[in-house]
């Protein structure tokens, strides 16, 4: 059985921080599709549109009928381990640091035979459930897991390296005033987070909800305003080396279309939602990226709570939507910049939040702070990149993936 993750000892300040290495990063274009699936937490492979043959390794023409229409679909993840080996020698620095490394050959019920990582609890002959996970190179890789989860299975070192599990880690939630901040704090602590820092902007402006944090163990409220560079610089100088997971909850919303409006609230929306994100990345990103291999409580993820309307705006909230689209673009650039370090950028897309006064006129369904907290923790545990939370977000995201042009016409052009 997997050993429970130890509590990390105090850092030895005389020891240099281990520079992160990453597994092999290069993939063919077709193989990048594995990463698209892993980013969403799906087990999917190419399935020939003509003869239904499941393809692996990813390729450009069907292995049965040469057809080139090979869409990615969810497939049966179960299989059996045919053979296993324990690798003890590798010229690749990432694996060399982690020897010995177990590798298996699994026959999927869906058809193909795959090379894969093995969870510590599975071996030759076992029936397994395959998962596609993002490794530290940000590439989709296969890992064979037990059919039934076990108590500490997340603590298996191979699996933990593919997740951003908050267990034993320290989290910075950037805006304590955000509607989901309290629920998120509780969910993270329940998931085993060692400490939660909560950023409080404008402490000079009292807010009654602050009292809910009083007396919470392993929780600290610290000054942080994402619109103020000096605030970020100051906090990152103090705790930057202790932030393993950052969850950006800072958000500014005002209703309004484009015309009949001015740009002052739009500016505030970009200042908080877009530039605030940039400043956080500038202030905390480099230190986090350098600590991805820093023991049990290594840095793991930069999480953004984004509105799904960054993909397709609600025209009644045009500036807000634009700022979210811009923020999403920033996260995409960040993913590229964090590639070599293994730091994951996770986007949690939500719709209107239940109880948020700025969306009070919208009809249900709305997403609750508890649901957002749950989805965020699940995204961290799964090591995902794209998480949709709530019915609205799931619906918009799916329609956007399917046909963005059609979605635009549905929202703006009289779809019934």
């Amino acid at each position: 059985m997997t050993q429970s993750l130890p509590f990390p000892p105090k850092r030895n300040p005389q020891k240099p921080t281990q520079v992160p290495t990453v597994p092999p990063m290069v993939r063919s274009r077709a193989a990048l599709g594995l990463g698209v699936m892993a980013a969403q937490g799906r087990f999917g492979l190419q399935v020939c549109a003509q003869c239904q043959a499941v393809q692996y390794p990813p390729r450009d023409a069907c292995l049965k009928c040469l057809n080139d229409d090979l869409p990615w679909q969810d497939v049966d993840p179960t299989g059996r381990v045919l053979a296993e080996t324990t690798i003890r020698v590798s010229p690749e620095p990432y694996f060399r640091e982690r020897m010995p490394w177990r590798m298996g050959s699994v026959k999927l019920n869906a058809g193909p035979v795959v090379n894969c990582h093995l969870h510590g609890e599975v071996g030759r002959g076992d029936m397994v459930r395959m998962a596609l996970k993002l490794d530290k190179a940000g590439q989709g890789v296969l890992i064979a897991l037990q059919l039934e989860g076990s108590e500490n299975m997340q603590d298996d070192p191979v699996l933990r390296a593919m997740s951003c599990d908050p267990k034993r880690r320290r989290v910075l939630i950037t805006d304590a005033r955000a509607p989901m901040a309290l629920a998120l704090t509780q969910a993270l602590l329940n998931a085993g987070a060692a400490h939660v820092f909560l950023g409080e902007p404008e402490a000079w402006r009292r807010w009654p909800e602050r009292a809910a944090y009083a007396g919470m163990e392993n929780v600290s409220i610290v000054p942080l305003d994402v619109t103020d560079v000096s605030s970020i610089t100051k906090l990152s100088a103090e705790i930057g080396g202790k932030v393993d997971i950052l969850v950006n909850t800072a958000s500014f919303t005002r209703p309004g279309g484009v015309m009949g409006n001015d740009t002052t609230f739009a500016r505030d929306a970009f200042e908080v939602n877009t530039l605030g994100l940039m400043r956080l990345a500038q202030g905390f990103g480099p230190a986090m990226a350098s600590r991805v291999q820093d023991g049990v409580n290594s840095a793991a993820a930069f999480v953004n709570i984004l509105s799904v309307h960054g993909l397709m705006p609600d025209p009644a909230y045009s500036a807000f939507g634009a700022s979210q689209a811009a923020a999403r673009s920033i996260t995409q650039s960040l993913r590229s910049e964090f590639r070599g370090s293994g730091l994951r950028v996770i986007n949690v897309y939500i719709g209107a939040i239940e109880g948020d006064p700025w969306f009070s006129t919208l009809p249900p369904p709305k997403v609750t702070p508890n649901a957002i907290a749950r989805a965020t923790v699940q995204g961290l545990v799964g090591g995902l990149e794209e998480v949709t939370c709530g019915d609205i977000a799931k619906d918009i995201y799916a329609r956007w993936q399917n046909d963005a042009g059609l979605l635009e016409r549905e929202i703006t052009g009289g779809g019934s």
Binding site: P24, S28, A30, A31, T85, I87, N115, H117
Partner: protein, 388 residues
């Protein structure tokens, strides 16, 4: 019935002694083998009208670049990318071209360089499927891929590490008679068993040592070889297959099993007539697989076969008489030539210290290119002495 290889012969077996690491390029090593072969057949480079090259480390060149590099103008140029199967593959293509009269003299060369970072560089760009679907999983290289294969083989057929050890030990004994073998010390079964594991169940002495080196031979018409007074070998039969048994979940049999009856039929005899066997020995388990798939024993009986036979030069089943890659070293694609070149020496009585008495018929088997999870290329040929 396939056409015989009448009228075409193999001459000038050349092995350029391997080194572990070199600063020289593949071009340099190939040129060295070519020069030596030309000296034996007493021709100038410009008289070569056919060239077949196999190499993994010529980039950014292909053999086309070699023609201008070497100042030759062949009317027949081939590049054979089938890795460990390339010797036999190169030979059978060149043989038909000579028979058809498209070319008179084909120099067949294989060579590779080996620098400090060659192994890692070679692996990382080895094949698309390896890049996508094997190396991200521990980057154990071929050692890990074959460890999976051996793991399955051992479970399926009950072979033990000792059985594989016997093959390695016998080959090392053979290598001690080969002056240019990289491995110069005897190997006992205890040493084999006690050595450190590389990728369980594959241990240190299951693995070949990557080197730089080159091998060559020359194909020509029989009448030309006689006119020049060159010792020569004939080709009795050949087979080749790529991506055999694609639906086998794991590779417990190689492509030889598809066409092996064809090999014996073309030769006109069975395994009992073979005097020595050169298998492609990237790992002892693959040699064992070849014993089975070539017809020397039944599937799954390889371990028992090894226990029952003496695989040394003087034994009842001489196998990999110069020591094979396991003891001589693997000079990249030249590993695909090693067995064939040694077989030519054997059947032309030029093998020196590794000579098997009365060697008349040799079976050479090739295997190569772990594109993803199995060796895709297989080849085999029966080579005979001039008077066999």
């Amino acid at each position: 019935m396939r056409r015989s290889y009448e009228g075409v012969v193999l001459t000038a077996p050349v092995s350029v002694p391997y080194v572990r690491y070199t600063n020289e390029t593949a071009h340099w090593w190939i040129a060295k083998a070519l020069r030596e072969a030309l000296a034996i057949i007493r021709m100038t480079p410009q008289e070569i009208d056919g060239l077949s090259v196999s190499s993994f480390t010529l980039a950014p060149d292909t053999p086309v670049g070699l023609t201008q590099h070497f100042g030759i103008s062949p009317r027949w140029l081939d590049t054979v990318p089938t890795g460990g199967a390339c010797g036999v593959a190169a030979m059978r293509r060149a043989a038909r071209a000579v028979q058809a009269g498209d070319v008179d003299v084909v120099a067949c060369v294989s060579g590779d360089t080996n620098r400090i970072d060659s192994f890692r560089n070679l692996l990382s760009a080895f094949s698309r499927f390896s890049m996508d679907a094997t190396f991200p999983y521990g980057f154990g290289g071929p050692n890990a891929s074959f460890a999976l294969l051996q793991d399955a083989y051992m479970q399926e057929f009950g072979a033990t590490r000792e059985d594989f050890g016997h093959i390695a030990v016998a080959q090392r004994a053979n290598a001690l008679h080969c002056p240019h073998a990289m491995m110069k010390k005897p190997l006992t079964l205890d040493q084999y068993m006690d050595a450190r594991m590389i990728s369980d169940p594959i241990g240190l002495f299951d693995c070949v040592m990557s080197c730089a080196g080159a091998e060559a031979f020359v194909m020509m018409r029989e009448d030309m070889a006689i006119a020049k007074g060159l010792p020569f070998a004939r080709i009795a039969s050949t087979i080749e297959r790529t991506n055999a048994f694609p639906d086998d979940p794991i590779q417990l049999r190689g492509g030889w099993a598809v066409d092996i009856d064809d090999l014996w039929a073309m030769a006109g005899h069975g395994p009992e007539a073979i005097d020595l066997l050169q298998t492609y020995d990237d790992y002892p388990v693959i040699s064992m697989m070849q014993f089975e798939d070539l017809g020397f024993c039944g599937k799954g009986e390889g371990a028992e076969f090894v226990r029952k036979h003496d695989l040394t030069i003087g034994g009842d089943f001489p196998h990999n008489t110069s020591g094979g890659q396991l003891s001589v070293g693997q000079a990249g694609a030249a590993g695909g030539y090693l067995g064939l070149v040694e077989a030519i020496r054997q059947v032309t009585a030029q093998a020196g210290g590794t000579q098997v008495e009365n060697a008349r018929r040799a079976l050479v088997s090739g295997f190569g290119v772990i594109n993803y999870d199995r060796g895709l290329c297989s080849s085999a040929a029966i080579i005979t002495g001039a008077n066999a």
